[in-house]
Structures are given as C-alpha cells and as structure tokens.
Amino acid sequence: MTTIAPEKVEVGKSLLGESVPRKEDRRLTQGQGVFVDDIKRHGMGYLHFVRSPYAHAHITSIDVSKAEEIKGVYGTLTGEEVAVLTDPFFQIASEPGGRIKDFSLAVGKVRFVGEPVVAVVAETRELARDASELVEVEYEPLDALVDARVALESDAPVLHDDAGGNLMWEGVYEWGDLDQAFAEADQVIKIDELHFHRFNSTPLECDGALVEYNRGTGQWTIHTNNQFPGFAAIMMGPAMRCGLDKLRFVTQDIGGGFGNKITSHPQLVTCCLLSRKLNRPIQWTEWRTDFHMSMSHGNERWFRDTEVAVKDDGTLLGFRTKALDDAGAWLRYEPLGGVIWAQVTPGMYRWRHIRVEFTQVATNKAPVSPNRGYSRMQHLWFTERVIDIVARELGLDPVDVRKRNYIRAEDMPYETPNGCIYDSGDYAQMLDIALDLIGWDSMGEKRRDAESRGKRLGVGIGSTLDSGTNNFGQSRMINPELQFSGNNEVATVKLDIFGEIVVTLGTTPQGQGHETTASQVVAEILNCSLDDVHVRAGHDSYWNSHAGFSGTYASQFAVTGLSAVKGATEMLREEIKKLASVIFGGVPVEALELAEGGVRIKDNPEAFLPFMACGAIINANNAGLPEDLGVTLNCRYVYRPPFQVPDIERKFGNLTLTYAAQIHVAVVEVDPETGYYDIVDYAAVDDCGKRINPQIVEGQVMGATAQAIGAVMHETFEYDEDGNLLTPNFYDYHVPHALDMPPLHTGAIESPSPFTPLGTKGMGEGGGAGIHAVCAAIQDATGKIVTDSHNPYHRVWELMR
C-alpha cells in the first residue's frame, strides 16, 4: 500500500486531525461487543417467518392450526390480523404510488419471493422453523413482472391494483436551455441504453431485533440494529396507532449497515405485535438467505435514449436521458431515490443544460432501499459512462475530457444548474495524484508487457461525489404534501458527580468510530484527555439525545453529529466557566480557561477547580449557589444545517450541504480468451474536507472501494423469469475475499467545507467511483463500449466476441 496524504500541520497539538486509536476496538477485538443477536431475555420466543415461494400470487388460504398445536410453539401472526391491528404504512409517494397499501405481513397477495407471510414464535429457533413448515398457505400463482422495461406495457402483470398499474412515480427535471445546447453542439452522442444493476452492501450482520412489550405502560422497547430509528419511528407509530413515546429504540454495536438497515420497520412492527399478543419478548434474527431475498436491494436503473451535446474539443454542453428505476415490490423508502440523485445532477462537470425524465416502477422483486451511495451512485455511474463514451466516440483522451470539463477549484463554491452548491474541492488535482499513484506515465510499457503475456491491459477513471447532509426538503419534489425539510442531529454532553464527561449521541454507528471522533472533538474543546471522555455506545431513545433525522446514514456524521457534539461541548465549557466564576468569587469568565481536566484562572493556574469538583457541586453539593446561575452541566445541542426549502416548481435549491469527492483509477488485465480479468493496480484519492481522524476516513475509503470492486465484478441480485432470486446467499453472491483484493494506493487532499462548523464533509459513500473506474478500464482493455455496471467474466467475454 502507498499513501499520499497532506502534511500534518502541527498547530498546538490539536486532537482534530489525529489518527487516535478507536475507543470501540477494545471491546470489539475481544468479542465483547453487544450485537442485536447477543441480547437475551427470560422467556423470550424466537420468531421465524413463513415466506412466499412465489414472486406473485394470490393468497387463497392460510392455516396455522398445525403449527400452533406443536408443544413449545407460542403463537403465530398472519397478514389478516395485521390488517386489523395496524394501518398501512405511510407512503412518501404522491400519486399513484402513494395509493398502495403496505402492511408488515403480506395481506391477500404476495409480491416477491421471500416476502413474509406468517410469523411463527416458539421456544427455540429450531422449533420456530419446524413449526413454520407446518403452516399451510395456499397460493394461486400469477405471472411475475421482473423486467422494469415492460412494467408499463398494457399486458404487464400489475402488482398493486390500488395504484392502477406499475407506475409508482414520475417526474421531469429540466434545467438550462436544452434546445440551445443541442443547437450549439458540434456533435450529438447517442447512447441507447445503460443499465445499473441491482446489488447491495450485504453487511455481515443481517437485521434483527429483540422486542419487549411493557403491558403496564403500553411501551415497546425495541433492541435492534436499525440504523435510522427516527425514520422507523415515524413509519411505525402511525401504523401501530401509537405515539412515538411508546417506541423506545435501543442499539449498541451494529455489524455494518451501509443504508441496508434503514427499512426493517415492517419486521419490527411484526415483532411488536407479537410481543403484545403473546406477552413475551420476541427475538428475531434474519439469516443471510432471508436478507438477500427480502431486504434493501440497491436501486436498479436504466438510462435510455441518452443524447449528449458536445463540442469537437470535448466540451460538454448538456445531456438528456430517460431514467427508469426499478423499485421492487414495495416503496419502503422510495420514491426518494427519484430525487436524491439530483444532489449530484451534473456530476463533477460544468455542463449547464440537463433534462432527466425520471420514472419509477414496481416489479416482483425485493423492495429497494438506500444502499451506500444511494441513488447518486447510479446517476454518477451514468455521468462517468457518458464521459468515457464521449471520449471514445470523439477519439479523445478520457483524462483530457475530464480535465476540460471538471468544475474548477476557482469556481468553488459552485452552483449547479439545479441550485445545489458544491462547497469546495479541486478535482483536477485529485486526478493528477491518482494518475501518479498508478504510474500513468509508464502505462504504455505496462500495456506492452501485458500483451506479451497474452493479456489486454485497460485503465479507467472513476470520478465521483459523496454528497452529505441531506436537505429533506427535497422530498417535496416527490410529494409536495410532505412536511419535511432541513436536517438535524443531537448530542448531549454532561459532567457527572465524579467528574465524568458523558457524551450521548443521536446516531447509530455501524463501524464509523463515532465514539472516537466525538471524543476527539470533546477533548479538544474541554482541553482534557481522550480517556476522560465517555461516549455512550449506540443509541437509546431514553437518552433524549435524538431528533427527527437522527441516525447514521447519508454521509453526515462528521457534519451533523460532530457539529452537535461541538455545540453541546461548547455549551458545557461555558457553563463550567460560569460555575467556576462563581466559585472563584466573581472572577470574570473571560479570565478562565479549561486545562488538565479542570478549569483555572489563566493568570493564576494554582486557582484550579477540577471537573470532579464542578460535577459534585452542581449535582450533589449545590446549597448556596445563586438562584439565577443557569448551570446544569448537562448540555443538549441540536445542530441544524443552514437550509431553505427548495423551489418545488423549478426543482431548484440546495439539496445537500457538503460534497466530498473521490477520484479512483483502476488498471485491469483481461484474458481475451475467457473474459476473466484481474484488477492489477488501483488508486483511490479522497477529499472530504477537514479530517478529524484520517485513519478512520481512509478506512471508509478502503471499505467503499472494496464494495465497488465486488459490485462491478461479481455481486448482483439477479432474478429468473419467474422471479426466483438466483443469488440468495454468499455461495452464489460472491463478495470479494482476501485473495480478490488488488494492490491499493490511497491519496488525500483536504478542501475544508466553508459551510460546516469544523470544515468537515460527510463521507463514506464515495466508493461507487470504483464501479465507474473498472467499467472504464474494461472499455479501455476490450475496445468495446461498456453499457452495464455489472461486468462478470462472461459479460466481458461477450463484449469481446
């Protein structure tokens, strides 16, 4: 591994920018983490789902009697009961998708293989599964719809009669002057169809929950690994006809999320209903095959009838395309994908005239939900494919076309055609670093060497953006009725009796090291040691440290989470000073400073009040303090990014706060006889503004890169014509393992965001660049245009035929 990184600036040994070791690691390396399946309760029952074997069928009857007769079976739940006990989930979509009725178990009809139909609860895991085999469900199979491209044809099977067809949402986005752009163009490059395939990040831990119902208070405690409890709560409360105070979410360690653990609310509702019905804790573990068949596939998308207006010198003027998005059977987070891509409308390029007709349809496949790079990855793959196809058609060097069109450092902050503000960055510089890292200058020689071994070498660039901190106002472009906008995150920082600095977050980390980076911010502000800061592990709604958008998703912790921590810690710092000012007999707060685990008078460091004393005075020894002191040493801060509600008519406005950037370069060697290829060299250059902990940032870059390599080479959720998933486990869904990893060189620059309190940008989702880079490299090696984001060996072989 090679690494190029900005030189460290030694300014008064700030903790911000230090790769301090992670606080989480001590428990995790000893097997002492607490993941959801580790939690047990006395008398708990294990839940097993009876799942649909059909992609599309009417349910004609369900008989649970044989299952319920078995000794040790506690009970069952069917869709019929769910339809009585709950209301359908709230739909984000406007018409027609908004009319569909989605319950936590299938009601009357199944719409994908693996859809939960009945839940069975028993004394042991094995018994629950045994009993589920005795549940008799009669189906009347219907034709399955597995190709989104025929979903709107008149003879297509219809999934949701309520919606009157398979159209879920459509919208036209147009900015600039397309007619003018195409009139000015020297050439119009046409691309019939590009396809971005279905996959997800397959976190190693699948979903799960342990749900307890408190009959006396009517409250559920939901131990889970859902990564966005705020969203789960607003989905579950109205459906279950209860206030959000009745839903307590608790997480500790989560075994990876990547967006895939946002939409487990239907399963959680089933657990809640059963814990109430059976009056016992309900334990649900999702197994790998269950996860693959039913949870959170990434959006599959086609780009059809694309036209690109270009000048002969490679200057890009604009494009128009028709995006067709396959939502799968239900809209569990969709159709938000229909607008999220617009955060990165022009990609990294300066074209100003863009039209995208976006259509989303339902199919008999697992519902899609956010997946690392959610919806932007698809669009950025499209823009990168366009660049390389344009370069090829014009006979230009893809490096030159990129450099000619990249938004320049001096253009920052840059307003895109649709009103988003790219905060900072220098894409051309990043590309130069990446090309250096893979030895761009010696590529001719490497090509010849590969040829001498009977291989074909190809180099490809993927440049991409990782937009972070959503403005939820963009949801109104999907449905003007929605009352969401802005964003927020919460942290509380308190000083306890013995001087403990206790931090609680609203987030639900899944490996991003929040306990560590939050400690860095707190220790920096309170001028104390990292060991003095105790960040509570995980999330608990009882901490009162969360708001509507709390969670860990969409590249935002370094902005929303750490800004909340910063705000709360600064409040605490001021309160400590205020208290000390009184204790020191009226010394002005300006004369005080925090140091060495306490507060002291700057000019008289002997006058020192340790945090322990501060905590003890306020919490346990407060007689005689002024009545109007206004100090609690328990500070809660809500960070709210500066957003306006976008202009819904023009679909214009700032949709996200920060834009981290990634440039990846991949070098592949293809065996022309078999289509087999290896990635023989790889560089990833990242810019996410100020890095609080560069090692953690680099870890995110590496992980996202590996996922991209898996996605482009092997990972796919492919269905047969009857709607059977062909890759339901890790046997057929090949994720990269140790031998699959190419040599990696990483590089970084830091372009601090002018819009965030710490200069940070959210990051972690930029790995899609790897998909773009490998596609481009295969195009280079084979000389054939790559039109699919998934390029297993047989497809590469077919390309070369």
Binding site: P53, Y54, A55, V113, E133, P141, T289, M293, D720, D722, N724, L725, L726, P728, N729, Y731, D732
Partner: protein, 150 residues
Amino acid sequence: MNVSGERTFSAPRATVWRVLNDPASMAKVMPGVEGFDVHDSGRWTANVKIPLGLGGLRMKVDMEKTEEREPEFAKMAIKGTGVGAMLNMVTSFDLREADGACAMAWSAEVKIAGPVGSMGQRVLQPIVNQQVENVLSALEVQVQEALRAE
C-alpha cells in the same frame, strides 16, 4: 425451464397410450413414489420422495389431465408442494405410429419456486435432465411389461 425430447418404444401406440394412462404404471414410472391416490380418471395425487443424492425431497404432487385426444395426445398440469420447493409443470406428449413402433414426442415446462428453486439453479438443469432420463427408462420397462401381459 423447458425440456423436450423424443423417444421411440418398440410397442404399438395403443399399448403406450394405455401405460401412460394407467395410474398403477405411472406410479412405477415417477421417481420415489411412496403413495399414489386416484381421484378419478383424470386426477391423481402422488406422495413422492425425489432422490437427490444428498437426501430425498418430499413432495405432494397433484396431477390433472387438462387435454386429451386418444390415442395420440394428452396434456397434464402437475403441481408439487414440498417444504422449500414448489413445482409447477405443464407437460404434454404426442404419440405417433412409426413402423409398428411408437414415437413419443414430449415436452415440459417446469417451474420450481422456493428456496430449492433459488439455491439449486446451478444444479437444477442437470438434475431435471437426470430425472427425465430415469422416468423415460422406467416407462420403457412398463411398456415392455404391458406388452408381455398382452
């Protein structure tokens, strides 16, 4: 999955027709039959344990004749229900005289759903081919037996 083929039996067409329509013979032709119920001349139910090497796959198989033109053509809808697998199959055969022998052209559209259908894609095709081969060999035996009995 669609499979089809042709097989010639050294027996008169009428004999082959009779075997194909005799539940007792069919019970011996199908793989791993553990029980066979005849509801009427056109509807049968079999309980089978299809031998798959690593273990048998138990299924309840309902068969219904949906079309018939004696002595040359019949079409059947077959629905199998088992734990982890659902089988839906439409199969038909055409019998024609061929120099005193009988040529049977057959075809089947097989749909397998459920975890077995998903997991077994890699081996499903060879397994189906294998099972078909077994069925045809067993049919040959039954036809010869019927011939001897005549």
